[in-house]
Every structure is written in C-alpha cells, then in structure tokens.
Assembly symmetry: C2
C-alpha cells in the first residue's frame, strides 16, 4: 500500500491520484464529533460548508450542528463538541453539520474515489477498512483556515505507524516522514505535547478541555464514516 499526508485542503490537488482513498481528519473536533454521532445512531451526517445553508436546513426542521471559531452558532442545536451528540438526541436522525475547517476539507476531497472521516476515535476501524481497500490512502488534514496544524499531522503520523504494523506500506512521501517524526516526539503523551499548540489554546479558551482529551482517545467509536456520492451524505461504511 501507499500512504501520503496532505497538510491542508488547498494542497490536495497536488497530492491527488486517481484511485485515492482520502481520510479527512480534523482532530479538534469535527472528526471525533462525526464518529460519535454516527456511533450513537444518527442515520447520516449532511456536511455543509456554508452557515446560510445550515440555517435553511434548520428552518426545514433538521437537527443542525454548527460551529465557527470553536463556538456553537446561536441558531444551531449543537456545536462541535462530541458530548453534545447523545444517543437520545441523534439516534435515527440525520444531522446537518458545519464546522470551521472539517467540512471544508470534506468539500476539497469529494472527487476522490472514496472519502472517509477519521481520527484517533475510530483508528482501529479505519485501519481495517484501509487494509481492505488496499490502495493509496491520503490523510487529508483539515488544518486551521488552510494552515498546517500539529494535531492533524500527529494523527497522520499515528495512522502511518499503525498501518505499517498491519501491512506493507510505502512511506516515501516527505510529508509522511515529517508526520512520523512529529508523532515519535509526541506519542508518549499527545495531550501534553499539544498543550503548546495554537488550537489547544483556542479550545481551552472556549472551556472545552475535556473535548481535547476525548478527541485524542483511541477507538472510542468503531465506525468509519464514508461520504456517499449518490445521496451526498456521510453514513457508516458497511
């Protein structure tokens, strides 16, 4: 297998190959939140990039999760905290979801052969699915406003490490090398490591420290969210 890591949604055109399986990662917090809502029985996530579109869904009676700059938007039912999306609230329902970075990253890679959503929360399920696919996997980091960030890069390193334990992987990309190196420095205590990073400050400033811990915990959800090209919704991959 081949793996690559792309540090920003706007860089994806320069990483794209024909049979890519893209895994969109937004560690803080959209990926974990999507995994949680689907694991808690939501039937689909409708990812929208635009606040106005999310509002139109809301007025038609949909459940809506909407976040900008680490805060819940006023009109929405939920923000971007995984703890918001309890089974009681989301089971059997579709959830419209828009976040600062995660949904934009999904938009950037909709043309890929397959698009999964991944993070530490569903690592094991993601690895299994990737080995089944057996082709090129690109970790697409949502970043922050198209800037590279540490937490998404760390996940890239963790994923590359784990995948290469399970199967033979070509690790020749420079970005993969950089991510693996970063992960080696952080792996003993990723939460501690991330305390000096930009986004962690933003989360703490918004009072969601427990979210950060949850988002770095491995295998809390055994689902792989996949973008369904026909319905344009994100559902659980079978």
């Amino acid at each position: 297998m081949e793996i690559d890591i792309c540090f920003s949604p706007v860089l994806y055109p320069f990483y794209r190959k024909e049979n890519d399986t893209v895994i969109v990662v937004d560690v803080f917090r959209a990926s974990a939140t999507m995994c949680t809502m689907l694991a808690n029985g939501a039937t689909a996530v409708i990812s929208v990039a635009d606040i106005e579109e999310a509002k139109r869904y809301k007025s038609r009676g949909f459940l809506v999760g909407a976040e900008r700059n680490a805060r819940q938007c006023d009109f929405a039912d939920f923000g971007n905290s995984p703890f918001d999306y309890t089974r009681e609230k989301v089971a059997g329902k579709e959830v419209v979801f828009t976040t600062t970075n995660g949904t934009q990253a999904i938009d950037a890679a909709k043309s890929a052969k397959q698009l999964f959503v991944g993070t530490f929360s569903n690592l094991e399920a993601l690895i299994q699915k990737s080995v089944e696919v057996g082709e090129r996997v690109v970790i697409l980091c949502a970043g922050w406003n198209n800037r590279a960030n540490v937490e998404d890069t760390l996940f890239g390193g963790r994923f590359a490490e784990k995948l290469s334990e399970k199967t033979t992987v070509t690790l020749k990309s420079d970005a993969v090398k950089m991510a693996l190196e970063l992960w080696q420095s952080a792996k003993e205590n990723p939460l501690e490591y991330l305390k000096s990073t930009e986004h962690y400050y933003r989360l703490i400033a918004n009072g969601v420290k427990s979210d950060a811990e949850y988002c770095l915990k491995e295998n809390s959800a055994s689902v792989v969210p996949v973008y369904d090209k026909k319905t344009k919704k994100i559902i659980v991959s079978r």
Copy 2:
C-alpha cells in the same frame, strides 16, 4: 519578533500579514544557486516562472539558467547547480533564472513588504538582516510542485532556532513547532537525514550529490538576495 513557516507557495495567502518579510527557501537548489551567483558578482537575477520567457531572454543575448525536474534545459547556459555559476562566467552580468519550484515561490510572495532569498548558504547574513528588519518573518518553502518537503522545512527549523538565539522570537505557530521538531531530529547530520527523502533521490539520480552537500553548508555566501520591486530583479541587499 514573530516568525512563521509556510510549507508551500499556494499556502502563502493563508499566512500573509501586512508587514511580512518573506524569505523564500528552495534548499535543493535554487536558493543556494542564487546566493552563489550574486556572491560571485552577478549584478542581478531576473527570476522568471516560465520556460518560454526564459527562451525569449536567451534570444536577446542574456545569460540564462534554466532547470526543470533537476535537469538543465537544453537551450540554457546553466542549470540549477551552484557550481555552474563561476565568477568568470557571471561577474558583472545579469542572469535570467527559472527553476521547477524556486521561481514559482518567488512569484507567490512578490506582494510581501520585503522578499529575500535564503538558505543554509547565507544563514548568518539572513539572520542579521532579519534582526535589523525586526518585524514578522515568514519562511516560505518552495516545496516540490507545491507539496511540502523535508529539506525546506528543515531550513525553517534551523532559521527559527538561530533567530531565537539572537533575539526574542514568538514561536507559537504550529508550522514553526513542526519545523523545529524536525530540525532537532536532523541537526546532527542533515545530509544523512535527507538521504531518505524524495528530492535527494532526484538529485542523486541526476548525478549531483556534491550539490546536496554544498546546499546544506552554512555561510558559504554572505549575501542576502532581495527582490527589488521597481526593477523586478533580485539584487544584493545593502
């Protein structure tokens, strides 16, 4: 002072601030080559992104350096090896120069307040100039076809380390953190470290191993190339 690192020319719009001094780095090899030609007495470098434009200059009698994918273009006087540009050949002359990645990176940052060209070759001169400027410095990595690469990122880490020895620097950017981490892993022997990277293979495949060594050597040139907005040429900063 504030420092940031941008991993690809296409990301610069997301890093741009009003008073940026941008240092374009293309470690293998455009930055070292430009430093060398100016240190050897070339009066200016005319950086062009397009091969056809370089050919037009050639037909008007200019000296032209042109490289694509690590090889010298047939029509050109020089390729992208710093060793091509001897004092005998370039002193007192203007050199038109186009490379796979370096000149594109210069184009991406022409709107910055100041644009320098830098690499290990002129590190000390660059640090002095940056301290004089005293504002925000962005290391703009040329990368490889807009993809992040290890060697340019390493230079970013080295620059950030060196600058913070000389003055008080804000190192809060995630990209700076990543570059510093990478540099810590590589600093004992950068050449050895780079042997497993993509571009090093390309250089070796084209028989220019000695170029790689030269490009990683610190302070072989005491010039800071600066983009002159009036003449649109790169000259030695006074």
